[in-house]
Symmetry: D2
Subunit: 339 residues, 4 copies
Amino acid sequence: MKKLRIGLIGAGRIGKLHGENLANSVAEADLAAVADPLMNEEIRAWAADLGIASCYEDAQKIIEDPEIDAVFICSSTNTHADLIKQAASAGKHIFCEKPIDTDLAKIREALDAAESAGVKLQVGFVRRFDHNHKAVRDTVAAGTLGAPHIVKVTSRDPDHQPMEYIATSGGIFMDMTIHDFDMVRYLAGSEVTEVTAYGAALSGAGYDEYNDIDTAIVMMKFENGALGVIDNSRAAHYGYDQRTEVHCDRGCVQVANDLNNTAMISSADGVSVAKPTWFFLERYNDAFIAEAKAFAQAVLNDTPVPVTGFDGLQPVKIAMAANLSLEENRPVRLSEIEA
Amino acid sequence: MKKLRIGLIGAGRIGKLHGENLANSVAEADLAAVADPLMNEEIRAWAADLGIASCYEDAQKIIEDPEIDAVFICSSTNTHADLIKQAASAGKHIFCEKPIDTDLAKIREALDAAESAGVKLQVGFVRRFDHNHKAVRDTVAAGTLGAPHIVKVTSRDPDHQPMEYIATSGGIFMDMTIHDFDMVRYLAGSEVTEVTAYGAALSGAGYDEYNDIDTAIVMMKFENGALGVIDNSRAAHYGYDQRTEVHCDRGCVQVANDLNNTAMISSADGVSVAKPTWFFLERYNDAFIAEAKAFAQAVLNDTPVPVTGFDGLQPVKIAMAANLSLEENRPVRLSEIEA
Amino acid sequence: MKKLRIGLIGAGRIGKLHGENLANSVAEADLAAVADPLMNEEIRAWAADLGIASCYEDAQKIIEDPEIDAVFICSSTNTHADLIKQAASAGKHIFCEKPIDTDLAKIREALDAAESAGVKLQVGFVRRFDHNHKAVRDTVAAGTLGAPHIVKVTSRDPDHQPMEYIATSGGIFMDMTIHDFDMVRYLAGSEVTEVTAYGAALSGAGYDEYNDIDTAIVMMKFENGALGVIDNSRAAHYGYDQRTEVHCDRGCVQVANDLNNTAMISSADGVSVAKPTWFFLERYNDAFIAEAKAFAQAVLNDTPVPVTGFDGLQPVKIAMAANLSLEENRPVRLSEIEA
Amino acid sequence: MKKLRIGLIGAGRIGKLHGENLANSVAEADLAAVADPLMNEEIRAWAADLGIASCYEDAQKIIEDPEIDAVFICSSTNTHADLIKQAASAGKHIFCEKPIDTDLAKIREALDAAESAGVKLQVGFVRRFDHNHKAVRDTVAAGTLGAPHIVKVTSRDPDHQPMEYIATSGGIFMDMTIHDFDMVRYLAGSEVTEVTAYGAALSGAGYDEYNDIDTAIVMMKFENGALGVIDNSRAAHYGYDQRTEVHCDRGCVQVANDLNNTAMISSADGVSVAKPTWFFLERYNDAFIAEAKAFAQAVLNDTPVPVTGFDGLQPVKIAMAANLSLEENRPVRLSEIEA
């Protein structure tokens, strides 16, 4: 089998996750190199264990390597756009973790660079590869239920992030809801045209000190006429609550959470069942593998990537609109975000 | 057992439903009379079968009967407020179907009349007596999950009403969502302070010809800080979709639909389960009985009714705010509706 | 509507249950009289409340009453066979609670009497009218899944009966499993030809003192080639566990328990759901009504009753075979029970 | 991390499955060599892809290699016992696929050899490592529900094996139910003392031509007093039906199947949900990894293996007893199998 030779840029939590999947579970990939500005013995040992031949501090070593076909950009967000431009210039295909950037102009420059260079660019909205959400999307797309009318996403993290993280996260809509903004576009098969956001800091964990919120509901309108709603909490406590639903003209498709197991324990004290899986490492583990395989196959077969640069741009715009809506307590059209 | 002697005013669909429950399933009640301006042989036979002693065309016969303790007002909406005032004057306790009226001033007059007369007035928000929604409410009220953060209601009718009905229904918010506006107050244990409504006519059934919609999402804020959302459809097609959920500070309680049975049929062709119960007669049958028993017991024991006149007033105000929000595409404070 | 005039014989727990259903919820029935050898003020008040015109000590008063069309025999088991014979002689149609008797010869005499008299005889296996088990049966009978291969019944009572009851109950197979023996015939659509029974007294509640057991598994073979298994416990503790399943040539149909509600409560402590309904009054309430309606309709329309005298005989024979199997620790053919 | 150097013996379907898990997903293992009498280019390429250094035709090369710590025996069943003896003599720790053999004397010799040599021997009953069945076992073992009373296993393969396979399979009890015989011991925490087996060839696929059956129910008694039952089908058609349940003195724990996803699709046509996962590759994938990790950890930490040689012996004896029971249509004590 012809394999895609891949260089990994960034060996933090998400970089290592992708690296292990590429090395162990993606038969189409050959993970040849890893670069991280904080390269150290621990990363070198990790790389050796996975059979990665080369370790660098400087990502340019990967970008300049003629043996490398593609890069996985898993470095900090503020480096994504520049790395995309450099990799594109060097003719590398690109997988980039979300978000590309939080500045629309920078995102557009990166997208233009990839397009001009004729390289593929896939953005890391992993939930599209989850067996549950994909079943919802596939059902809607099949059309047997008719046009979508109501798109619903419940997305709650299991527990609070550290407040130091919150301080620089960019706010709930850009940091957390951005996945849901991608999801509603994916499920509706249509673009968001307007949002109204309600939010509050209800947990007492201190989000308001950072002008942030821990609880949100966002309504939206889509080009195809459908309406949508997302509800978020930073701390569900019972696990990772990831439910989606689309009500269509002739019926409804909805998914429940994946649970740790299917056990039901019944006694005089009551009946208990298992909790949902705890967080994205448990819930989206298989989706991360499917995502990487899909990228490798798109490059090897020269077919379109399943999540495009445009798909990376739109949720950022929706998050900006949601921020403005929350600030001014009014519906905000996506067209207001263009300037 | 001392029984409450009841006169039924109105023998249409909902009146007959209450009449049969009072006669057959509410041991605390003695259904003594029925009045309907269209009194005929069919109603007389129905009454005879239930052991109802007296049949009248004129509701005044019931109101003036010294043997009658209480009335069930199940006549057309535009007669509710006047009948409440008359029954109150005659010292009858009152159960009145929702809505009391669609005019706030008339509702207030009726409420004042009942209060002045010192009679009990219960309004027919039957869903509060449903085993599922009550379990949500009881869990929230118990406080073990902490304060409510997100209140969610999905409420979809099984199929379109005739367009002649829609023409005079008062619109989706006043006709259908009004039950959900009561439900969110009940679940949150707090008053709605603001709503934003999105709506559309997507089914092609002709709601737009009556300036009405068939699909809606309404967000709301509560006095206690919680946020809420309702989604509605006039035609779910698979049955009566009645789900509620409250996410609280330390966890979540949610209910699924009641199904026709628990059968699961598995074959190479797939796995099927039973549909939800079709509509309110199937889904809320037990709740209607519980509602009537609760009224009878409140009167007999002189305890507070579980759904007050004020509970009848508030959802009308929220529906008015939702209408204004939809019309002007902006958040509307409940305080704007007072004037 | 023409109504069936019914006399109720026996006003104990099950008699009152049928009486209330006939009076309140079976429009085809007119409950005209009740007889109980222990007739007293409490029963008379109960009857008055239901509008029952006549109360007797002596069941013969009902049997001799030319105005009575049919009797409900709800007296103690040892009176059933004689009452059937007397009622049949008087030309009354008969609903008889299970079991008809525990003596095969007496059962046959009763069946012969009803047949000779040309009256209808329905036996009270109420579970056939349950929405869940009926869905299993209907699916099997429809034939789309092919011939039945494996028939499974789980049947566990919520808690121990008093030991005084156990002392004279006739043993678990005749007292409790007899319902399941009827159920497997109903589901398989075929007769049991052989059983092997395993049993034990494991609860420590004292069943072994009465030569009885509290836990049982019974395997069986059917005429149509299918195999079956029933598992029983006298004390499930979490509620009434009533599950059935048939695996067929091309797939499987199974039902879960009815629960008190559909609530799911999730928190860091775990996820809990509602318990099954507690016992037969809650679980089979609607089935008792459907059973009585089915009898009334069969008589009024002169169509076959859904549960025949033969259906009353067979489970007694299976219970006898199971007792013999347990005693001798060997498979027992039903043909051994004929003598 | 210190790693266990492993040699894989047998590169058929199950050998490759273990090989890929050891190479990719068991951090504690270093898969150093593979041997297969049919070694060819396809296996060499597979091995190269996984980074396996050495490929042999002769398993002795692995057994004699002083660098190898442990072997995975995945060759044909008739070679297991000899390979265990040889590997034990060479001081290798041993993971052996089930069954060790179908001859009790040979199994005992192999077990003795491993014990004498002081090497660890783990047998491949992978289902013990499944998240669902493990949850049942853990709940029972925790003791909060009290002693087990009823142990139930439903185990149905998705579809028929080729009849050539059936011809030499050893029969359903030795080939398929053997997993369930292990499971009931695991769940009950007690030894089987007696079985009664019912079986039939109902599918029309031709099992009877090989004196085999496609449908079975087996009842059993346990040393601790509990009763048990297994039901089997060779062809469920809807997927791999793998459910277990233990009813205990104070309650019940049960597990449902893993489904392909949690989607529920509702329309006027009905409500459908996803099928169970198709077969063991999908259902027990994670369990195979957990099994291999458990073996590696037991060796590295010198702790007891979770599935012993004795655990490999007992199910073979139970299968023999079931065969005898089916043949003679009588209960068979395990003690009869000793001779």
